[in-house]
């Protein structure tokens, strides 16, 4: 790969987790704007996060829904 931006690589997870300070975000954005390989990897990471979430989705069965509703107190 054509990018040796290890500082940027280290910032990727916290950047996507939105836990960087404003200064760090500005720094990361500045670098990303100037470095297409890093930018692409950041976009990939965000999409990967969403893809993982969607892939493991398994809707709750109606049976379980009914059972939970049945646990409510009767007044």
């Amino acid at each position: 790969m054509g990018c040796g931006c290890t500082d940027c690589e280290k910032m990727m997870q916290p950047y996507i987790d939105r836990v960087l300070s404003d200064d760090q975000i500005a720094e990361a954005k500045e670098h990303l704007a100037a470095c297409p390989p890093c930018e692409k990897r950041f976009r990939f990471e965000e999409k990967l996060r969403a893809f993982v979430r969607v892939s493991v989705e398994e809707p709750m069965s109606d049976g379980l829904k009914a059972k939970l509703a049945g646990l409510r107190s009767t007044l």
């Binding site: 987790d17 999409k47 996060r49 893809f51 993982v52 979430r53 398994e58 049976g63 379980l64 107190s73």
Partner: protein, 196 residues
């Protein structure tokens, strides 16, 4: 004394409590899809997840008065769920502390990109190297302690602080486990994509 008719104040208190309880139950039930989503990936099978969610709601409804209104109910429910899951004596897994991991967060991207013949493919094409089934299988390979954190943060969308509260571990531990969990997941995803 105890035989005397309830005073107006007592009657009002009882009515208020009943109303609060119904409201609590409704709010908790509205979160059940989100609770199930997390539960499903903390255990291996649908059946286990359903039992766990059912036990969680049974306990939550019994001890609803311990919940402080205005605080995060979803986190409160997940705290019960993770405790129940641990109480069930889930099987102990080797902690893979010694297992070497690929360094770097760009690792998965670079591996997947190397399987595409085009120069400089866009990230959508790189992501297409992964299947949904591969993600499910890869996640199941992540050991429990690490997976719990990943499931809460990346799938349940809890903050580090909320995950720490739910699992009753320090925030620093959440961060280190999350870091490791994501590396393990990526390593698994890379292996599955290369094998496909």
């Amino acid at each position: 004394m105890s035989e005397s008719a309830p005073t107006a104040a007592e009657t009002r208190r009882i009515a208020e409590e009943a109303r609060d309880r119904v409201r609590f139950e409704e709010e908790a039930l509205q979160l059940s899809d989100q609770v199930y989503r997390v539960a499903r990936r903390m255990v291996s099978t649908r059946e286990e997840a359903e039992d766990l969610v059912q036990d969680t709601y049974a306990r939550a409804f019994r001890s609803w008065q311990q919940y402080t209104p205005g605080t995060n109910l979803r986190a409160w429910l997940l705290r019960i769920l993770t405790n129940l899951n641990i109480d069930r004596g889930r099987r102990v897994q080797r902690t893979p502390e010694q297992q070497p991991l690929e360094e770097g967060d760009y690792f998965l991207y670079n591996r997947l990109e190397s399987t595409i013949s085009d120069d400089n493919p866009d990230e959508e094409r790189v992501l297409e190297r992964l299947s949904q089934n591969a993600v499910v299988d890869a996640l199941a390979e992540v050991p429990h302690d690490f997976r719990d954190v990943l499931v809460l943060v990346d799938i349940g969308e809890f903050s580090y602080a909320e995950a720490a509260q739910i699992l009753d571990i320090p925030v620093g531990t959440v961060m280190s486990r999350l870091h490791r969990a994501r590396r393990i997941l990526k390593q698994q995803l890379a292996e599955k994509a290369m094998a496909a």
